[in-house]
């Protein structure tokens, strides 16, 4: 009798340990679904701009930037803010420069405030979707393409888009790094 109850309680303990881990994907899913924590919607341009432009409304989108400790990069938006209509496809550009002489992989995270605007803020292209490589002393312009959804609440007049760059070296395998290096080289060769 004791044995069965003990085993059940031990099973409950294991389940709850697993539940702690299950909170991780659950949290990510909820964040994207409800725009918690300033997580934005990621779609393609067609979908995001499908409803046309609402030319009666203006929204100011502000840009901020932050570089985390351990990443010797200069990183800032090329413009402080831009005025857009809901539904309009717009580009913004950030400037990044590696101030050290070594190649460094960085990763950007983003956040939108007010948080109520986050689910209506569609990103179709962003340097934050992938890891970025900057060679020693390399400078690069990093584009973001976004559409503020037409369904954005009427009282939202200003949206702030914030980026933080982190040093991603420790989270990349050699294989990932080589792939990223190759694709970065190919892109810059194509542009040249």
């Amino acid at each position: 009798m004791n044995r069965r109850l003990v085993l059940r309680l031990l099973a409950l303990t294991v389940v709850m340990f697993g539940f702690g881990y299950a909170l991780v994907p659950l949290y990510d899913t909820l964040c994207v679904a409800f725009g918690l924590n300033g997580k934005t919607r990621i779609t393609d341009t067609q979908t995001a701009a499908a409803d046309g432009v609402d030319e009666d409304r203006w929204i100011t989108v502000q840009f901020t930037s932050h570089t985390a400790t351990g990443l010797p990069w200069e990183f800032r938006p090329m413009m402080n803010s831009v005025r857009v209509h809901p539904g309009e496809v717009k580009d913004a550009v950030y400037f990044a420069k590696n101030n050290s002489s070594n190649p460094i992989f960085g990763r950007a995270t983003y956040s939108v405030s007010p948080s109520i605007a986050a689910v209506h803020f569609n990103k179709t292209e962003c340097f934050c979707f992938t890891n970025q490589l900057l060679e020693g002393h390399e400078a690069k312009e990093m584009p973001v393409r976004f559409v503020v959804g037409r369904d954005i609440p009427k009282d939202v007049k200003t949206i702030t888009l914030s980026y933080s760059f982190f040093n991603a070296e420790q989270y990349l395998s050699e294989e990932d790094k080589n792939k990223l290096t190759a694709s970065t080289k190919r892109n810059s060769a194509g542009e040249g």
């Binding site: 003990v6 303990t13 420790q170 989270y171």
Partner: protein
């Protein structure tokens, strides 16, 4: 149960003596004593750290310790008090009293019980040895928030392992409590006849099993983030530090009820005895405890209103938090109703119980203030929070345990404690406690942040008062050590009932309670 026939067979003399007795013991009373002694030792260790904190805050500016060490003191003070003093203390009461209260001969799993206890000294050693490592002990606050804990030195790793061990000990203890209560009750001891202390511990044990593994998971994620390349909480690898706060408080809020519910049980035992009336509203008390336990799972984010949740989340967590005041209010009113028109006397345990009812309610009300989202943005991470949780933890859990010790000490030792000194201990504790923590409400409202070794000059007076109170509070606790020591050594012989016609099976036993009790199950009417 085979001993029903040979009741007088003397098999209680064969246990080893000295140190080996305590290391190998599987007796619930021995283990209960070990837990309580360990708890008191940790209480003094954590208290000494509090003295360092208050000494540094005696004056503005930096005088005694450097800021990093100060942060280690606030962090380890809290960890030691929560995991070393309060939780093991409550398990000590559970071990001593639950088998006696339900008429069982021992805990259901005595060997496991021994193991649950003996993990603790090693876990505590691991935690405290973090001070000896490069970079010192953990300094990120007891909440161990990432990303700060991803960055710390080896001390953080030792803390993580200590937390794992403490968690294993708690879960094993909880399993033992549940199995004991489910399977070992004397015939006739229905669930709704169990003393409220047993009920509170049953529910606490389920809370422990539900949330300690989640906390173990959270610190394991920290550990793998630190050393094995995962990125649960580090944004550089795609993680999210706010996630740690959610997981932590999913554990953390039930955790605070783990610390207070058994205290409610102790109070519910003491107040009827000295009111000479049965507990008012027993059924509603049980339901209130269950209600509080349920609500504890759905209010966690009120600890993190300022992380940037959407409005709907803030509003939900605010109202859910307010809801807790209802079952808690039921309990407070029932205690007061128990005393109403009772034939009251004010022996030391009763003084502590009344002190808990009054002071815990103050802490509950400041908790309501913190639960109001817009107000919390002002109070968050200030001394108002520090004042709040010391009112519920010290004058709730800790003072209830002190009351419990005085209440059952005559049963444990067979001697009456020194009533004069006991009352002195109560008054010193209560007065110094309020001198220490009441001014911290004002400090917090005026904006003094917590966990900072320095402060603006206008906060000086209240900090001086608070520090003086803290030194008094610290010294007063040595008196308790003396009173208990004196009571163990001798004193007026306690009667079997000890108090005036108290309720409960423990008072049907001789004082001191024999090494083996209820080998023949008692008859429950």
């Amino acid at each position: 149960m085979a001993t029903v026939a040979d009741d007088h067979h003397d098999h209680h003399d064969h246990h080893p003596t000295g140190l080996i007795r305590w290391i190998t013991t599987t007796n619930h009373k021995d283990i209960g004593t070990l837990y309580l002694l360990f708890s008191f030792a940790m209480f003094l260790v954590g208290g000494a750290m509090a003295m360092v904190i208050r000494a540094e805050l005696f004056q503005p500016g930096l005088q005694i310790v450097d800021p990093h060490f100060f942060n280690q003191m606030t962090t380890v003070h809290a960890l030691v008090m929560v995991f070393g003093a309060v939780m093991p203390g409550m398990v000590g009461f559970a071990n001593w009293m639950i088998p006696i209260m339900i008429g069982a001969p021992d805990m259901a799993l005595p060997r496991l019980n021994n193991w649950s206890f003996w993990i603790l000294p090693f876990a505590a050693t691991l935690l405290l040895s973090s001070f000896l490592t490069a970079g010192g002990g953990p300094a990120a606050g007891w909440t161990l928030y990432a990303p700060l804990t991803i960055q710390g030195g080896m001390g953080v790793d030792l803390t993580i392992f200590a937390v794992h061990m403490l968690g294993i000990s708690s879960v094993l203890g909880a399993i033992n409590v549940i199995v004991t209560i489910f399977n070992m009750r004397a015939p006739g001891m229905d669930f709704m006849k169990m003393p409220l202390f047993v009920w509170t511990w049953l529910i606490t044990a389920f809370l422990l099993i539900a949330v300690m593994p989640v906390f173990a998971g959270a610190v394991t994620m920290l550990l793998t983030d630190r050393h094995f390349g995962t990125a649960f909480f580090n944004p550089a690898g795609g993680g999210d530090p706010v996630l740690f706060q959610h997981i932590f408080w999913f554990f953390g809020h039930p955790e605070v009820y783990i610390m207070i519910l058994p205290a409610f049980g102790i109070i519910s035992a003491i107040i009827p005895t000295f009111s000479r009336k049965p507990l008012f509203g027993y059924t509603s008390m049980v339901l209130a405890v269950a209600g509080i336990a349920f609500l504890s799972f759905i209010v966690w984010a009120h600890h993190m209103f300022t992380v940037g949740m959407p409005l709907i989340g803030e509003v939900y967590f605010m109202y859910a938090t307010m809801l807790i005041a209802v079952p808690t209010g039921v309990k407070v009113f029932n205690w007061v109703a128990t005393m109403w028109r009772g034939s009251l006397t004010f022996e030391t345990p009763m003084l502590f119980a009344i002190g808990v009812v009054v002071l815990f309610t103050i802490g509950g009300l400041s908790g309501l203030m913190l639960g109001i989202t817009p107000a919390d943005f002002q109070y968050h991470d200030t001394y108002f929070v520090v004042a709040h949780f010391h009112y519920v933890l010290f004058s709730g859990s800790v003072m209830a345990m002190m009351g419990g010790v005085y209440y059952w000490l005559p049963k444990w030792t067979g001697h009456m404690y020194d009533e004069k000194l006991g009352k002195l201990h109560f008054w010193l504790t209560t007065i110094f406690f309020n001198i220490t923590f009441f001014p911290q409400h004002f400090l917090g409202l005026a904006g003094m942040p917590r966990r900072i070794p320095d402060y603006a000059l206008q906060f000086t007076e209240f900090n001086v008062i608070s520090s003086l109170g803290a030194f008094g509070l610290g010294v007063s606790q040595l008196l308790m050590a003396y009173i208990v020591y004196k009571c163990v050594k001798g004193g007026e012989k306690a009667t079997d009932e000890v108090w005036d016609n108290p309720e409960g099976l423990e008072w049907t036993l001789p004082s001191p309670a024999p090494y083996h009790t209820f080998e023949t199950p008692p008859v429950i009417k």
